[in-house]
Symmetry: D2
Subunit: 409 residues, 4 copies
Amino acid sequence: MQSNKTGVWVIGALGSLGTTIVAGTRGIARGLSASTGLLTERPELAPLELPALQDLVFGGHDVRRGDLVTAAHDIHRQNGSLGYQLLQELESDLSNISREIRPGTAQGGGDAIEGLAEVPAAHASSRELVESLVRDLEEFRTRHSLARLIVVNLSSTEPPTDWTDAYRDRDALEAALDSTPPGTLRPGLLYTYAAFRAGAAYLNFTPSNSSLCPATESLAAEQQVPFMGNDGKTGETLVKSALAPMFKYRGLTVDSWMGYNLLGNRDGEVLAREENRQSKVESKDSVLSSILGYPLHSHVGIDYVPSLEDRKVAWDFIHFRGFLDYRMSMQFTWHGCDSILAAPVVLDLVRFADVALKRNESGPLLHLASFFKSPVHCEEHDLHAQFHRLTDYLSDSSHGSSSDPKAKH
Amino acid sequence: MQSNKTGVWVIGALGSLGTTIVAGTRGIARGLSASTGLLTERPELAPLELPALQDLVFGGHDVRRGDLVTAAHDIHRQNGSLGYQLLQELESDLSNISREIRPGTAQGGGDAIEGLAEVPAAHASSRELVESLVRDLEEFRTRHSLARLIVVNLSSTEPPTDWTDAYRDRDALEAALDSTPPGTLRPGLLYTYAAFRAGAAYLNFTPSNSSLCPATESLAAEQQVPFMGNDGKTGETLVKSALAPMFKYRGLTVDSWMGYNLLGNRDGEVLAREENRQSKVESKDSVLSSILGYPLHSHVGIDYVPSLEDRKVAWDFIHFRGFLDYRMSMQFTWHGCDSILAAPVVLDLVRFADVALKRNESGPLLHLASFFKSPVHCEEHDLHAQFHRLTDYLSDSSHGSSSDPKAKH
Amino acid sequence: MQSNKTGVWVIGALGSLGTTIVAGTRGIARGLSASTGLLTERPELAPLELPALQDLVFGGHDVRRGDLVTAAHDIHRQNGSLGYQLLQELESDLSNISREIRPGTAQGGGDAIEGLAEVPAAHASSRELVESLVRDLEEFRTRHSLARLIVVNLSSTEPPTDWTDAYRDRDALEAALDSTPPGTLRPGLLYTYAAFRAGAAYLNFTPSNSSLCPATESLAAEQQVPFMGNDGKTGETLVKSALAPMFKYRGLTVDSWMGYNLLGNRDGEVLAREENRQSKVESKDSVLSSILGYPLHSHVGIDYVPSLEDRKVAWDFIHFRGFLDYRMSMQFTWHGCDSILAAPVVLDLVRFADVALKRNESGPLLHLASFFKSPVHCEEHDLHAQFHRLTDYLSDSSHGSSSDPKAKH
Amino acid sequence: MQSNKTGVWVIGALGSLGTTIVAGTRGIARGLSASTGLLTERPELAPLELPALQDLVFGGHDVRRGDLVTAAHDIHRQNGSLGYQLLQELESDLSNISREIRPGTAQGGGDAIEGLAEVPAAHASSRELVESLVRDLEEFRTRHSLARLIVVNLSSTEPPTDWTDAYRDRDALEAALDSTPPGTLRPGLLYTYAAFRAGAAYLNFTPSNSSLCPATESLAAEQQVPFMGNDGKTGETLVKSALAPMFKYRGLTVDSWMGYNLLGNRDGEVLAREENRQSKVESKDSVLSSILGYPLHSHVGIDYVPSLEDRKVAWDFIHFRGFLDYRMSMQFTWHGCDSILAAPVVLDLVRFADVALKRNESGPLLHLASFFKSPVHCEEHDLHAQFHRLTDYLSDSSHGSSSDPKAKH
């Protein structure tokens, strides 16, 4: 007999973000922490029948060895964002969930990601590798009698992938899986393929463009599963997309918008590599001219500052012209903590994806665009317009009946 | 025979803002300056039949002596926001318009405003005073054969007015005009009364609450004229109303939002007085809790920094809590120039009000809420939601017919 | 037989700063924490014969009930500045030292300070009260066979005291002690008097001006003990005094220097009172014109922001003129933690004061001016010039012999 | 008969800085502008017998065509830092001085600098080229009967020069001049050589390391002329060198100091090239670890933001650790105008160099170290310590007699 449990499979489960999600969910579920930051805890969303936090079952892949207890204490020491007493009370939860983490794959992820890998590369072909990933998911589903399964990609940013045939075409992809050694195809592609094969919803929280591509999307269509991505919008870009419309509303011409991101965690370390940074910069940079409607002098800097640990400091300088072309400026500094900002967004996404699965919605979940820096199949970057899509969906939902699922594409 | 000209009567015509509006309008009309900052110059608004900038005829009241040429050169020296060469080319325009400026009234405006007055107090009663204001407007209309007339209040901020009967009731107001000496009623009340008596549309760009009150609004209803206010939203509050929704969308709890405004012009000097500042602070302070939906620790400081002249520097510090109640912060600094930011907003408001007059719309123009810090008869403070009201109005307008004016209240 | 121990008696021992000093000293002494922030741990100061941290014995007065274990855990929860594991290891140290804390006096400290008091007012006259304070100090000295005793005032800021005869004249003070009820004289005066009576060195780390005044200084002279104050320089004022000389070196004219301090701890709560804030503002405000050599438009704002807890955020805006009187600006934001910044300064002061006691130096310790916002008997506010006084003293010390103590006034 | 005039020969005379220096000097000399920003106008320096501003005669080299009148009006339009009315009154001065500008050389300066050149390359060999530069200087001296001559290098930043034999050895340099075609040696080397050959004092206000090198310094020694460099310290680095000592005084450990410079003028355009930026970054980067005494994670970013014109915005983020290794931060934003900040520094340097020439001082003028980012032959980077060298020199000077010149090396 099937339970009402929803599986949440995290790629990169031992990272700061993965650890914070698991610890936070368990802390809230046990009544030890407040649910601050979770949109889905608002009373007006009750009619949606979102999954309860205690019904989320966690597992995941990671390329590093380790366990959630150690990872969580590291976070405590670095940022204090996970409290010592909370971790003491969650120790057995974290130990148990650690046992649900399987070795992932870094092969083909580029030098930075491969350099992080501590698990051995154990497969003879791409096919063998990807089938082992599928098996991990299916065993997880069976082991916990899961009603629904959602895969979230939180792994480090890959360098941009040039879409060869294997990414553009389902048959070519299958052929490549059969004929190539591990390391030929990006991990992001393999994880997504495995998720869709296992009938899971898929959320790409990284900028890696190997993940949602024509080949995997055609598989999703065949499997009738929903997905969304790319790249969670949680910090500087979030502010940009909230603020840029203001300049448009007032007819102020933005000449230059210079943004500098300082970060210190593993994300920062990987993004210190030029090729990996490229994926992130592209994802962040398209927002402004899209909202403003004209080209401008913009810059997105990302610098690694180890002492910041998981904290992030971003400074943006905006140089604009008003009446009579007089120049003025605005600047902001954002002092955030990456995992703390991203964790509730991931949980909200997971819960909305769960609703989509229940309703048999498939394809890109465009009502979730406000949560992504580069929402797939969506040209809208204005945060407010994006958010209205969600409120429209929610208000349709509360009136609509579950026997009439709304197709989203 | 009536022309197609629209009169723009400015209360506080010799101030930085009044001077910048006049110089800028003439500069753009003469092709000497770009129209940056004017929403109403966008090509998609052409169907609205907005008045051409060259069809705006300026006049106004001021309590100081002086002329626009001198005032404009002062601005040049202080900020450079009006270029020396531009002023040379506009010299005769500015001289001519200076002749349309009549003595205003400061009596009853509080110590700070009365201290600015250089024109003698020449009337025996409130009635005599207000009738002279009406006469100024009517003569202006006749002298230039104006098709429509719009009064804009740009005068210094009055202390908050306790609404006595004269403000709450039309008959009580008429009685007070007849029975009291000048100085009993606030200038803001008298100017608004005069505007409505002269059949003008009225825009209250200051926070002074004596202006739009039940007594004057009932006169506007009788005269079938439109109006809007209070307090132009051009700087720190504009940013607040663009940014605060972001925290709501992400479930981030704002604990404290501290704002500090440094300004150096006459506005700053007047607002250095506790009683006048109070009007401004109240106007700015309601925005946040209205958008966020909960009370928070907030502060609006206004300090006079003479060296800034017409420039304004505002610093806001936002302290918020995310997942697991972890505290983070954001800060922004706004470096604006008050008159440069406000002038195009006033011009946009004037042109939209002119459209309303043409269409016989009356009452509060709620579609203009995005331009005000404390929009009357409007609880919405979210900049984006406010702006959508304008775009809805504009898109209705382009389809609707002028024989079917939309009642706004 | 006398030990080589130095007593450190803290007025306000249970406050954030007092607690941080005790926990930090014990943590470092036990090898659990690094000695970051302590100037006196530099190897080049070894010849000075500074007291070892393990030889410092703590006690103190406080007007609140409570103990250091609880206070330290409150700090952990609020800022994380005292680590949970550290506190577990220090539990018995903190318990033991808590037993050395005696009831202080709030009477006469103004409404804010009196409002904090939880210990009963138990004395019939000022004389009886002050003698009980002296007794606390003498018993502490005897109980631990202390070689030397230093009293540090870390209590909340009093309102400014108008120096009546009791503050200006030793005999008048003694008479007032005999003839007045408790609450007539400021606590700061009584604590200082008690310290000098007990032969202790005295450090006034608060701005309260009742502490070091002619009446108490004449007692210090009689007792041949050293002292220094007022008001520890640890945050925004420290930055000001480092930065202002730069403008002087470059001939840049500072027109306006506006400073805003946001703080959230008990200090912030007390300083939210206008009368208490006044002491702080005066202490902070004299620095700039003293360094720059001309009057300028300056402002020191202090606002209470409860969510900040012991953290402090200060924003300073500096508007200056350069060549051809062109205006430019600089701004800085300081994100500090008050107790963390102040604790090592207090420890350094204590250790330097101990050296002074050993050398029989007495009177104001002018070489410690760099640590105070309003150094007594010292007109120099330039941080660099102040610090050179310390390095000069230290280099004299390393050459000089202890049989030739340097008189400091 | 020789006059008492001092020649000021500016390499890069038509740049923003060169133009601002000339216009400002003439404006102050004619009583049209204040002398803000000039240290040398302080009354206490009167005994030094500094040259009067009206006795400075300007000429220079530039690789672009143009004249000072046009250049000055460009600056007016871009920043307003040179007032329109001032320029009208200085028109004939600027025209006259423009006639003293001769074609410079860009050959060998790297792609960016060569790309700016508008004057033809007209010489067959390095020797012929450099002799024409010497001739320009000597003719200038003769034409105006100058008593003393000072050459200031304000040209664009060259890429770092690898010191080959020609830079390390006087004879090798002479041989290279004879045997190589133009473009073999850096312009900075040739200008310096020419200055020393002409008996001029030389100030290298750029970071270009080709200028002051063993080969040119040995020529200076032979000619008995003084010099100083490199790279004027006027903005972000100035602030760094004022602020970094504060962290040292307090035992605060700076983990990271990230600096970002946004600039928009020709300097910005040249520095947008990686190879040229390198010279600047090296010059700016050594300051911190030198002052603090330990290595830290630091970064100096320079980005070109055309809309800023001659304005410069720099943001620095400083991450530091205090007591118990608790992390705190500070950030500052500097809004300057490069030419306005640099012009008075250049004038002060010129006047101090003139005093040195009068006193027959030669070699590096170490008392001028506070004005340079990378002072040659000087390890001291602390602004305050550097400035004390100047005040020591000045106070020696005021006591010393002119018959006893102080040798500076």
